[in-house]
């Protein structure tokens, strides 16, 4: 706000005004949730965001530490130099890191900023939420009568992350990622913990708004669409696979809870439900919004369809291999 220019209301004033209006409405006892859809939608929206925020915070803290304490050289020493060989290593690293999909987005971003090849970081991004022990145990608990679902899910998600990584290594272009991704925050002087805090704060603000957008879209679509899609799909397996894949994108469930929803759709055969579990952690509305915010819209427009197609194919493939 420079002196001399016409003074426009700044951010602080807007924030204060919004809070005062909100408080006023609260005091007047206005209840905006007037229809059943609004009530359910609002609860689902807040639930998605509240559930995801702790994981996003964990992710941005990790990305801060990564930026401040891990040198690009150390990363280069750990990873095989050829992206093609490094992709499976990154996927395996994802297995060992139990995280939510929201946590892995900022981490993948900072891996790229630290010089890790795009394809390798993206393979990690897909693997970390999908094939970690917590998710596999949850799947085993949700499908007590079909233990083969666990292996099939592992196989499908592992393949999805690897194949997308390899495709990106061959066909991906550096300029598809927003230029800011590669820039390192210029805190320069301060101690390392301050660099870590600045990076974490920056990533949180960058990603947080988009997480909200994704949660909003998921809540609206979850309330308006799905049950009618699923009813009566019973024996049409091909159609069921496609509908379940789309449903996974729409519902944006956390990867530790989606197995229970898949289990509850007991009218469907196992194969479409497996596809639901493979697609969900790899690509959903919440993730697309997060990725668009973090890596740029041009990136998300290419990465989301690629991941969706690969995940559906790998899910079906894994299901057929395991014999669902």
């Amino acid at each position: 706000m420079t002196t001399g220019a016409v003074r426009r209301p700044g951010g602080v004033e807007v924030l204060a005004a919004v809070l005062v209006v909100a408080l006023g409405l609260r005091v007047l006892g206005v209840d905006p949730l007037v229809t059943p859809q609004l009530r359910v939608g609002a609860t689902v929206f807040v639930a998605v965001v509240v559930q995801a925020l702790p994981f996003l915070v964990l992710g941005v803290l990790l990305s801060g530490v990564l930026t401040a304490y891990v040198s690009p050289l150390a990363l280069r020493r750990v990873l095989p130099s050829r992206p093609g060989a490094a992709v499976p290593v990154a996927v395996a690293a994802g297995v060992a890191l139990p995280g939510c999909e929201c946590a892995s987005v900022p981490v993948a971003r900072r891996l790229i900023a630290r010089g890790v090849p795009d394809a390798v970081a993206l393979a990690f991004l897909l693997a970390a939420p999908a094939v970690n022990p917590v998710v596999l145990v949850a799947t085993a608990v949700a499908f007590p009568d079909a233990p083969e679902m666990v292996g099939a899910r592992f196989l499908g998600s592992f393949l999805t992350a690897s194949v997308v990584g390899w495709v990106w290594a061959r066909a991906g272009r550096a300029e598809w990622l927003a230029e800011r991704v590669r820039r390192v925050p210029t805190t320069g002087d301060g101690p390392r913990w301050r660099v870590a805090a600045a990076t974490a704060r920056h990533d949180l603000v960058d990603a947080g708004g988009f997480l909200v957008l994704g949660g909003l879209a998921a809540a609206v679509l979850t309330t308006v669409v799905p049950e009618a899609w699923v009813a009566g799909l019973g024996e049409q397996v091909v159609l069921a696979v496609l509908v379940m894949a789309l449903l996974a994108v729409v519902m944006s469930l956390c990867s530790e809870g989606d197995a229970f929803v898949a289990a509850s759709l007991s009218a469907l055969p196992l194969l479409p439900r497996l596809v639901f579990l493979v697609v969900g952690p790899a690509v959903d509305l919440k993730l697309i919004a997060l990725q668009a915010g973090t890596f740029g819209r041009g990136f998300a427009a290419r990465f989301a369809p690629l991941t969706f197609v690969v995940a559906v194919l790998c899910g079906v493939g894994a299901g057929l291999v395991v014999g669902l």
Partner: protein, 241 residues
């Protein structure tokens, strides 16, 4: 968005996270195990903002620490206000019969039945999902055979429109994955009463399982005979896990 606004926004969002854990609203949205993590996340968010504020207080602001592209992508940060305001203004309630309606035919998958005996005492309280799992596992409900138990749930119309069911929502991660579980009420004396209008009616119902009713044909919705019922307040948490 300037750094001052961003920091104020982060403190506000962090405070809302801590607040909903403190007053228990968080149980409307996630399972109890997540609550400490939500509070911790709130504290971390506040801490990150205050670190920056503290630095501003100690010396004059210098070029933004965040490589100066505060405009553009920075604007999306305003969206963080939306869930915080929704929580403060509307305090979305726990999911109830609205969500059961929207869930259509989807019901909780009954996994392995609990093997432990029922709690001791006359008509012990057990989760609805526990009764359904036991009833689906064996025709007489195993440990339920001949026993009376107390169920807590809200009243909804039966799926075929005849009579009423007692329902509960089961969540595994957050309210977005809530799945309904229900028992059909054989309630000749209308002890339970009709579904609530303009809000759910919660009841504690003393019931006995009708053997052989949780079959594939009924969608694993067992029928129970109602022996007694009292209206109660919505429990917290309102979900089963």
């Amino acid at each position: 968005m300037t750094r001052e606004v961003r920091n104020a926004l982060l403190v506000f969002v962090g405070a809302v996270l801590v607040l909903i854990v403190a007053d228990g609203t968080v149980l409307h949205y996630v399972r109890p195990g997540m609550a400490p993590l939500v509070a911790l996340a709130g504290v971390v968010v506040i801490g990150l903002a205050l670190l920056d504020v503290a630095r501003d207080l100690r010396r004059r602001p210098e070029p933004a620490d965040d490589d100066g592209h505060e405009h553009g992508s920075g604007r999306s940060a305003w969206l963080l206000l939306v869930p915080a305001l929704v929580v403060l203004l509307a305090a979305p309630p726990s999911l109830g019969s609205d969500a059961v309606d929207l869930a259509g035919s989807r019901t909780v998958a009954v996994g392995r039945a609990p093997e432990e005996p029922l709690p001791p005492g006359d008509a012990p309280a057990i989760p609805v999902v526990d009764l359904v799992a036991r009833a689906a596992a064996s025709p007489d409900g195993g440990a339920l055979a001949g026993r009376e138990v107390t169920l807590t749930g809200f009243v909804v119309p039966a799926r075929d429109g005849r009579g009423t069911d007692l329902a509960r929502l089961v969540i595994s991660c957050c309210a977005a994955d809530a799945s309904p579980v229900r028992v059909h009420l054989d309630d000749a004396r209308s002890l339970v009463g009709p579904p609530g209008v303009g809000g759910d009616r919660w009841v504690d119902a003393r019931v006995r399982l009708v053997p052989g009713t949780a079959t594939r044909g009924t969608g694993f919705v067992p029928t129970v005979t109602v022996l007694d019922a009292v209206e109660v307040r919505e429990p917290s948490p309102a979900y089963e896990y």
